[in-house]
């Protein structure tokens, strides 16, 4: 078997009084899709937020391609090729699709200390391509994200993650609040990650969804990993048992 792309060692996280992660260790291998499952409050989002730089671990190590890395901000994670699609949606409703695609990573015509004039043409062209590439049918990248349906928004978030050539794509409960048809689309997308050479981490508390699109299943409960098996080696009953 190949070497893990991400390995997490003994990760702890305290929120003042709450011990949300109690020494989590996990290896994720290239091009596999891992389903992370657990009840509300199990610590899934906390683990993911640490990997995506939104929160800092209290203790523990993260290795990428075998090398220790420090992920101190979302920007660090993105620069390492880790893109995250959040449950609450990582889009600004009052801004256009094109502007949302490039928040924080705007192509600039020239720059001075990181600030500069955006290249609107490039933004429009690239977001049109990215949207089409993700199989979305949106007429104009100038439409406000607030006008899109929940599924379309997740589609744009996925298009954004793909546009920036992510190596690891994390989806934290991306199907919450989605209609059945839109949920199916997202699940199909997760299943297709392998063909795109992207390693996936799919978080859900719906056990059926995870079995539909993941190679490996990791279950968390009360801040610990309680089960880690290939999908074909376990069953829904076994997972429900440990949760």
């Amino acid at each position: 078997m190949s070497h893990p792309i991400i390995s997490v060692r003994n990760l702890h996280k305290w929120y003042s009084g709450v011990h949300a992660l109690k020494g989590v260790s996990l290896d994720i291998y290239p091009n596999e899709t891992v389903g992370l499952i657990g009840d509300n409050g199990a610590g899934k989002s906390t683990l993911i937020n640490i990997l995506s730089g939104v929160q800092l671990a209290s203790e523990g190590e993260i290795h990428l391609d075998g090398k220790p890395v420090r992920i101190r901000s979302p920007r660090d994670a993105m620069d390492l090729g880790i893109e995250t699609i959040y449950q609450y949606n990582s889009m600004v409703p009052t801004m256009s699709i094109a502007r949302n695609m490039f928040i924080g990573r705007e192509p600039l015509k020239f720059r001075l200390f990181g600030l500069g004039v955006m290249d609107h043409k490039q933004m429009a062209a690239e977001s049109t391509d990215a949207i089409a590439g993700a199989g979305l049918h949106l007429r104009s990248p100038d439409a406000l994200v607030g006008e899109l349906s929940g599924g379309q928004r997740q589609g744009v978030a996925i298009a954004r993650a793909m546009h920036f050539k992510s190596r690891v794509m994390i989806l934290d409960e991306p199907t919450n609040h989605l209609a059945v048809k839109e949920t199916k689309k997202v699940i199909d997308f997760v299943r297709s990650l392998k063909d795109l050479n992207i390693t996936g981490i799919f978080i859900s508390h719906n056990i059926h969804h995870v079995f539909e699109c993941c190679d490996r299943i990791v279950a968390m409960a009360r801040g610990e990993v309680v089960l880690d098996k290939r999908a074909e080696d376990t069953s829904m009953d076994e997972i429900l048992d440990v949760l």
């Binding site: 928040i103 990573r105 600030l115 104009s140």
Partner: protein, 325 residues
Amino acid sequence: MKRLLKIYMEKPELAALVLLVLLVILFQVQSGGVFLSANNLRGILGILPEIGLMVIGVTILMICGEFDLSVGSVFALMPMVMAVLMADGTPFILAFGAGIAACAAIGFVNGFLTINYNIPSFITTLGMLFIARSLTIVISGGFPPLLPNDLPNWLFTVFVGPGDLFRMSFVWFVVIAVLASLMMSRTNFGNWIRATGGFLPAAQAMGIPTARVKIACFMLCSMLAGFAGMIQVLRLGSPLPSIGEGWELQAVAAAVIGGTALSGGIGAVLGGVIGAILIRVIDNGLVLSQVDANWFKFAIGFLTIFAVVVNSWLAKRAKAIKVET
């Protein structure tokens, strides 16, 4: 066509612009043509930059999702700092630097306290409103110092333009408004400001330094207010410690009338500018129409509420216009 209609209805500054045109026509007719006479325009355009510059900063800060009640006091403090320093023999340019630095410091404190201690900016800047006003009076020593007579009035207050229609301050206002507008629409920093105010968690998740963006907006807001105050003092010729009282609310009203949402993420510099013009036009138009001056505040209040209602109605109608997305 439908798409175009939708786009215009979604522009929050539209309602204010329509209202402005209607009011100008009304006042022009009512005053028998005096309203748009060169003499009267000179009056309006002479004062407009002072509230207008303040409104630009307030608008940008509101788009960023924050709020500043201290601008009226900073408006008085900045020129007072300058006047006190100049009375001690400090040259204008150094006094100006010190005044702007004081404004930047106030903006920084406003932003730092708001973000670090997670206090609503309404509260931090309300505190600063009193503090800055008090400092203004304290450093004035009870009565305003005399301004030296070698001030660069040619740069700020002399009349220029065709028929001496406006003052130099108007040129500053236009240039700064255009730059601020371009910053919001064309630069990545403008994108960050709108994202920070539009949906903070998304902006943070996309790696935008939201705390720094907000603090920068607080500082910009204070500096513009101080700069505006200096222009008024140069026009009046004396640094009164009471100037700008109540202006913080007029500035918020102008921004809101121009379509900026208190909740952040929505609005435009142009809208704020139109709102500021509206306020000046109403003030002047009421005087010309010989209406009791006490109706001025009524009109501003009515307009603020009216603009928000119209905007929310327009937004709802625009949403109802289904175009393919």
